[in-house]
């Protein structure tokens, strides 16, 4: 064993020397590949698909990093993690310092390492991306977080002395959790109010176990509890308590991170047929309510033999791959644009292909067709072609008249996106919203109402985990500034 490591380190030493001699040999540009469960096996279970890096792999990968003087990677990360520094610490096998380095900017590396769309963020910006393959920053981040978990080190950052000022966080998604963590570290007395019986937001009810083990989220919440953050589950703010109630309870500032959870349903004929469902319903049943363990868990889910999923984002892919694991014989994804426009993480798309999911691009549903019992049996679709770019900059799909055809299917899952849920915002009439119902904030996350801040999907519309976390953190700084000016400096 020892010998092998020596060999490895020798080879990586030489690698590092070569990389210093600038990038000439294309061989050294290959990044490491993470081990995965065999596709044939993994579609029969809900265990994680990607298995993580070994120390040897980390050594090889960290050697490839050029330690740029002006690192582009940092600007690609929405929370500006000091990427070269943590990679360097990893290279020196100083894992604990590497962990601190990451956690200074990102409290949830085990999550981001797994679900960030790195190919459009940090790794896209990495200089090596121009000449070959970028550093596997996400993998490295995940490695260090997993190392923490494996060694049972719940790294609990140090907290400032308690200030005795109460702050309420509404919603335990990535935005709310991050905001809570920052405030707790600054000595504030934080309570999170969450609608569901578990925290994590989309991380717990949306993203499936095989992509993000729920254990990780549980641990992150335990870390917050170690920072004395209080969790109040089953608490839908706007229903059980209003903003006024929270103020009466002594909360001096409030952060709103309620996400954008309302499903967009396709308003086409047949929507009310049985077994036509939103991805939210399907994923919530399976993930949060654990229908994949029915009848041990009481919540059922029904899929049939052929499942058709509509959409091209992470939600659609997660639904499709979950359906496969629940025993569907065939899973088809129909997406109205082409492969290149798919917003899903690249890695998930590749995994889905490996697992045998069938993609029908440039295809749009026209109507759902049912049998006598109102159970869905077919979906009529039409072929599309790409026209002029639309406001999102992507080429707009247009119908090719006369190209309609039928797809046989037992279940249809609609995963075409979400919008703002008005339950909370409706209960605060004076809160300023934009025309789509999202909350308007300034650069500190402050809304038009004093002491109320917001961030995450409820401000930006559906985005990513890391942008929601970034927004939570920014708002936490805004809150600290506000509370200091208002309550602390006067004293």
């Amino acid at each position: 064993m020892k010998k092998k490591i020596e060999e490895d380190s020798k080879s990586s030493n030489s690698l590092s020397k070569r990389s210093k001699s600038k990038l000439t040999n294309s061989e050294e540009l290959h990044r490491i590949e993470m081990k995965q469960q065999d596709p044939k096996i993994r579609i029969t279970n809900f265990e994680e698909v990607s298995l993580g890096l070994t120390e040897e792999m980390v050594e090889l990968e960290t050697q490839r990093c050029l330690q740029c003087g002006k690192p582009l990677c940092i600007s690609g990360c929405p929370v500006n993690i000091k990427i070269p520094q943590f990679i360097n610490l990893l290279k020196e096998k100083n894992f604990i310092e590497a962990l601190y380095k990451i956690k200074a900017d990102n409290l949830l590396p085990a999550i981001c390492g797994r679900v960030c769309p790195q190919e459009t963020q940090c790794e896209q910006a990495c200089i090596l991306n121009r000449q070959g393959e970028p550093i596997a920053i996400g993998y490295l981040e995940r490695f260090i977080a997993d190392w923490e978990r494996k060694n049972n080190l719940k790294e609990c950052p140090e907290c400032a002395a308690p200030k005795g000022i109460k702050v309420a966080i509404i919603g335990a998604g990535p935005a709310g959790l991050t905001c809570a963590g920052e405030l707790a570290m600054n000595g504030y007395d934080v309570t999170i109010f969450e609608a569901f019986h578990a925290g994590g937001g989309v991380l717990i009810y949306g993203i499936p176990e095989f992509r993000l083990p729920k254990d990780i989220i549980k641990r992150e919440i335990e870390t917050l509890e170690m920072l004395n953050v209080k969790m109040e589950y089953n608490s839908i703010i706007g229903k059980i308590l209003t903003i006024e109630d929270l103020r009466d309870m002594g909360f001096k500032a409030i952060f709103i991170g309620v996400g954008a959870g309302l499903p967009i349903l396709l308003k086409i004929p047949g929507l009310s047929l049985n077994s036509v469902l939103s991805a939210n319903e399907f994923l919530t049943r399976s993930n949060l309510m654990k229908a994949f363990r029915f009848p041990k868990y009481d919540t059922p889910v029904k899929i049939g033999k052929i499942v058709t999923v509509i959409g091209g984002g992470n939600t659609a892919l997660d639904s499709a791959r979950t359906a496969l694991r629940l025993g569907a014989e065939k899973v088809i994804i129909v997406y109205r644009r082409s492969e290149a426009e798919m917003p899903a993480r690249k890695e998930e798309y590749h995994h889905a292909l490996e697992e045998g999911i069938e993609f029908q691009f440039l295809t749009n549903p026209v109507r759902f067709i049912g049998d006598d019992n109102d159970n869905v049996s077919q979906m009529e679709v039409i072929k599309m072609k790409l026209g002029e770019p639309d406001e999102s900059g992507r080429r707009r799909p247009v119908r090719i008249e006369g190209s309609e055809y039928l797809i046989d299917t037992d279940t249809i899952i609609i995963g075409i996106g979400t919008r703002a849920n008005p339950i909370l915002t409706k209960s605060i009439p004076e809160l300023k919203l934009n025309k789509w119902g999202y909350i308007e904030t300034d650069e500190n996350g402050q809304t038009n109402i004093e002491g109320i801040f917001a961030g995450g999907d409820i401000v930006t519309g559906s985005a990513t985990v890391i942008t929601a976390m970034g927004a939570g953190k920014k708002a936490a700084h805004g809150i600290v500034k506000y509370l200091q000016e208002k309550y602390l400096e006067k004293k």
């Binding site: 308590l241 499903p263 009310s272």
Partner: protein, 294 residues
């Protein structure tokens, strides 16, 4: 924050309907007629909706009336005083609009749907309305809360399918008679889908009776109760989609496509049966174990 069961009693004589009082101070403070809660008994449980049938703001309690129809309702009804329910979320759904109407209001409760009628009748009567109540049940044994409903009604009519109590027949029979005789401002109907469907057909003004505004309470399958999953959606006769949890549960009965709803209600029938069988098996095993220990 687990929620303790403070009282439990059986209603009627069918052995399937129970009244339970839960300690839920915050929910009790905010609850109104029309609201429901989502309840999960234990870690492996599903979330099921139940109407807040009564509330006591001082004592911090809500009352639920539950009929055993499947695994989850049976699991709840197997809990006893002193036991804790793991999760209770609410108050959800829209409270009903309370105002003074010119003419009487007919409140129709069918089966276990009688319980959710109680707070509606009570709040509307407190606002000065005349309440005519019609209670329907398959038989006498399934009739619940007769005395309680009497306290909030100016007139109380009972129908049973088999004539074992009150008039023999269905709730639409006395409704038609009343509508022929008097002007009615509002009808509220809560009960089985079929009952609500026929009440809506009686009052939609398309037959020989005048049109009367009618509210029905939709009891679709639900998960989150906040508009997030779309599982509770129903189709209107015009083909629009609404969500029972946030647009209801009390909605205009004349716009609901009941036939579609009746088909949707059965969508998990097979799984529900399996779930029930597993649970009964568990219960039997537990009984056996108890016997062996003793």
């Amino acid at each position: 924050m687990p929620y303790e069961i403070l009282e439990k009693k059986e209603l009627g004589r069918s052995g399937t309907i129970y009244e339970m009082v839960l300690r839920t101070p915050l929910i009790a403070k905010k609850a109104h007629a029309g609201n429901f809660v989502l309840l999960r008994v234990n870690e492996t449980g599903e979330r099921i909706p139940l109407t807040v049938a009564d509330y006591d703001r001082e004592k911090g309690t809500i009352t639920l009336v539950i009929q055993v129809v499947g695994k989850s309702t049976k699991l709840i009804c197997n809990q006893n005083v002193g036991d804790q329910i793991l999760d209770v979320v609410g108050p959800l759904g829209n409270k009903i609009h309370i105002k003074r109407y010119k003419n009487p209001i007919v409140v129709i409760g069918g089966g276990v749907g009688i319980a959710p009628c109680f707070p509606q009748a009570k709040e509307l009567r407190d606002a000065g309305n005349e309440i005519i109540t019609i209670l329907g049940a398959r038989n006498k044994g399934l009739l619940i809360w007769k005395e309680k409903m009497k306290t909030v009604s100016d007139e109380l009519i009972i129908t049973t399918d088999d004539g074992s109590e009150g008039m023999k027949g269905v709730v639409t029979d006395p409704l038609k008679q009343i509508m022929q005789k008097r002007k009615i401002s509002l009808v509220i109907a809560i009960g089985p889908l079929v009952m609500m469907k026929y009440v809506a057909l009686t009052t939609n003004g398309l037959g020989d009776l005048p049109k009367v505004k009618t509210f029905v309470s939709l009891n679709t399958i639900m998960i989150d109760g906040t508009g997030m999953c779309g599982c509770c959606r129903f189709s209107t006769l015009e083909g629009d989609i609404q969500f029972a949890c946030v647009d209801g549960p009390d909605v205009d009965g004349h716009i609901v496509d009941f036939d579609n709803l009746l088909k949707r209600a059965g969508r998990f029938l097979e799984q529900e049966r399996d779930s029930m069988e597993c649970y009964d098996e568990e219960c039997r095993a537990l009984e056996q174990l108890k016997k062996e220990v003793i």
